[in-house]
Symmetry: C2
Subunit: 197 residues, 2 copies
């Protein structure tokens, strides 16, 4: 039973992701989104938007990747996508330490496999990782649109910033979703939800 005990300890520990808050505001409940429900949303997006992934993408791996991509935030917290380079560097170090601790709760073979998925997501070199990242960047845009501007308005983000920092990562993972995101920015500007530049 030792192996199952380790697995259950991991499952219990990662439940803490439900308490990690992101910047994203949820229009319905009127509160910040947590990283567990964000990860769920990405996983359903992976299932639903699979046909817009480049040929050869393995949607099962993408789904697993988005399910575990934020576990490190249990220790490292969530960093806003528009944070500066120094903050990003500190965050990367904290996330690596968190990955070392959290995945190691699992039996060794599983720890290696899930840690490998997380590393792959972070490195963004494979089609699977690039598509996962595209979903991770598109989802908050949809929430902002629903929340009348959401974090765009709150932090005074401009269309230029979204087009420079966010949309290219979506295009990189899926040309189709990239085009959709570009249109979405135009719509948000037209509707007064996002400042032009």
């Amino acid at each position: 039973m030792e192996r199952l005990d380790e697995q259950i300890r991991f499952i219990t520990e990662i439940g803490r992701l439900k308490g990690v808050l992101r910047q994203t505001m949820l229009a319905g409940p009127g509160r910040r989104e947590n990283s567990a429900e964000h990860s769920w949303h990405l996983a359903v997006m992976a299932l639903t938007l699979a046909e817009h992934a480049p040929p050869g993408t393995d949607i099962g791996r993408v789904t697993a990747m988005v399910l575990v991509h934020d576990l490190v935030e249990i220790d490292a917290g969530d960093l806003f996508v528009y944070a500066d380079a120094a903050q990003q560097a500190r965050q990367e170090e904290a996330e690596r330490a968190a990955a070392d601790r959290i995945f190691a709760l699992l039996p060794e073979d599983q720890a290696g496999r899930l840690r490998g998925l997380w590393d792959e997501f972070e490195e963004r070199r494979t089609p699977d990782a690039r598509f996962a990242r595209a979903l991770d960047r598109l989802q908050p845009m949809l929430e902002n649109l629903k929340a009348g501007g959401g974090t765009w308005r709150e932090h005074g983000i401009t269309a230029d910033q979204v087009l420079t920092r966010v949309v290219p990562l979506i295009e990189d993972g899926s040309p189709t979703l990239g085009r959709y995101a570009r249109d979405l920015v135009q719509r948000a500007v037209r509707d007064g939800l996002l400042a032009p530049g």
Copy 2:
């Protein structure tokens, strides 16, 4: 773009699952769990506990199943597992109507596929559906244990009730997880988190 528009409409609509509260209390944040983060937790459990599923179980299908199994609660709300038969019957009808509405937001082929997964989960006849149901029943037990008794204490649930209404559904999906759940009940009684009978 019409197909993608339908997919995005579905993705936006299902975000409302983040606002559907369950009975389960979360020890860390000190609030009720919502059905989106619950679904995420089950999906990671599917990845982690795959080896305890009966031979022939398709974990990719199980993962997809748990990701969408609660979408109907957007319209029908969540029903406590210990609700009476009349309440259960009313709930089933409300959930079917919800499934008719929500999955139909998707393009027809995808609507059929995801609705099929939901029907399969509800009918609990295939190994995939039984394993998914086992995870769905085990996860709240783990949360109750972590929350010092949680909904067991709050609603005066006894070990007999857990052993009659919950543990058999876990055993049905996975003999190994069933044994684990049976031990967990004993431990909870011994630690004073669950009344004996």
